[in-house]
Amino acid sequence: MKRWHIVAAICLLVVGFIFCVVPLSSQATELTLWTRIPEILDGWDYIISEFEKLHPDVRISHRLLDWARTAEILLPAFAAGTAPDLIDICDVSIMKQLGERRMFVDLTEFYSEYRDRFPMAVDVYAAVDGRYYGTPIIVSALAHIYYNKNLVEKYGITPTDDWTYSDFLDACEKLKNQGEIPIVNGNKEGLDGEHWIQALMTETIGGSGIMALLERTDPDTGPRWTDPKVVQAVQAFEDLHKRGYFIEGMAAMGQFVAHLQFAAGKAAFHHLGTWISASLAKHPEFRWGWFRFPHMAGEIGATRNGGVVSHLDLITINSSSVHQDIGLEFIEFYTRPEVSGHAFYDLCHQHPSVAGALKGKELSEFDQASIEFYETCDDNAIWFSVYLPHEVGTEHITRASTAISSGELSAIEFCKRLEKAHQDNLRAAQE
């Protein structure tokens, strides 16, 4: 008798609990913000708390998305109508799709009022058909190769900004013969490979050449991925593998692991963007330097200052949001130079996109070099895999680069497949 009652009581309790766990309703207006860069979490915390102080009846609920899976998470969210009020979009192809369908609030007016805050390089990320949909957060660039000072000094190698690509290859050869690891990068996610190919193509066809390829609309005319200069760049990437300059097992090594290997002093060179200076600062005993990605003698890139100046992540306002006005105020607030500057530079050591955010701040040598590049880059291209539709860019550039790293795919085959996929995609779009 007793036990039966106890059991029934427990069951009822549990069932009741299950259906009565309701979040306490609050009087505050709540906005949801989804971002994806873990390095600037502290920055967002600061911005949110300051904003909430200015607007006591507003609460901003911040969720950090998985860095690499933002698109996959947003897809069902938008489909089901559960997308947040403020979203960090890091994908131009998605920005285009959703912008064209007016699923983001049009910020063109905002831009015309606050244009001085946003450098011109932002436009290619933030605008679709002349209308603006997002505001940038931080800027970074792909323009340098980093090196391990102790290691290269040991062998009398002195990298400079004037190095040519052959100088660089010679240095790698020398290091390899001494039993050292010349270059460490991790291509499991395919991003390091994509960045190498991007940098090499900037040398052989220039940033403008890359943009011409990316912005193709006609499958039958114009530049192709199978053009000799493009193939040359991809072959240069393949070549680095063949010569054994990359660390062993690169095809399965994560970007993060590779980076820590560099910071632990295991290799000489490391190719990544300017965003890593913040993490390298966490290893104070590690002496590192940088040089501009070496030019190839006689190629287009040699006469230009090319690379990628990236304002990749942008905050957009969901046009189904019922708090668009507050969203606008939030955007206006965080893009104030002093706010961005403190949040993203002082707290997180990243470079805010907003112009003037770094005024008066103490900058490290590398910060200065980075900023110099942001301002003087005259041949800017955009990342392949965020501009092209994913089934073309991510599949045939990012993923395919890992197949090059594993030795499965040749450079020529890479270019052929990419070209075919891009053409198919363009043709399908024409229908």
Binding site: R3, W4, V7, A8, C11, V14, F17, I18, F19, V21, T32, I37, P38, E39, S61, H62, R63, L64, L65, D66, W67, A68, R69, I73, P76, A77, A79, A80, G81, T82, Q255, F256, H259, L260, A264, W275, I276, A278, S279, K282
Partner: protein, 279 residues
Amino acid sequence: MAKRNLLSIITKSAIYLVLIVLFLMVTYPVFWLLMSSIKPESEIYKSPAGFVQHPTLDNYVIAWRKLKMRRFFFNSVLVSVLGVVGTVMVSALAGYAFSRFRFRGSNAIFLLFVMSLALPAPAIMLSEYILLNILHLLNTYQGIILFYMSLSAFAMVMFRNAFQPLPQELVDAAVIDGCGEFRLFIQVLFPLVKPTTATVVIFTYIWLWGDFIWPFLILQKAGQETLMVGVFTLSTSQYGMGWGFFTAGLSIALLPALVIYLIFQRYFVKGLTLGTLKG
């Protein structure tokens, strides 16, 4: 005679060797993880594989605070515990039904349930998301718990096998005493399958604790993430951290399920041996 003994000694030694090597292979990864989590950062670089020299709990403290693990931990406990209770309730009832009643289509329905064991997650991911949203169960603990309860086929099989061999005399005796069907189940028969219940509890708990696919998809509000989702996001996050911190985070996620398993091992064995045999 001596030859036989020598052969048996060699055989036994070989058997022991294999068992020991296997045991080391099975336990080393966990050992490595736990060791790394209590090593100071410098030691991890110097000697990543071996024993710790200067153990420290700093990594755990940092991981717990910085990763907001208290919230994640709570969420995982909530979802796992309630999910287990729900699953046991639903699957015990169903397993009982299959074992004691012969009705038309019982085999077909049973097979329908078993079919879910072959179900790959992507086959229902998007539809599930949309369905839960329509039912207003998205971003709710209720939603994910109900979802987990619907995938209790394995537990159902175990309960069915456990109830089947129970003697008919017990049932008859209870019925004569005027016992209703449900009371018969709750008071008489269910208590008899304790080992199976224990096994189902442990199994389900381990599965729910370690699952990341569904909480990732279903619990999307900030602060709702479970431990595994937090760990998963941590592993893909970029340049912000060191090994100690990372392995400590992983350990925090690992330990509860592991500890529960180690403590309740013997029930696990009993229940498994009863339940899995008859397909």
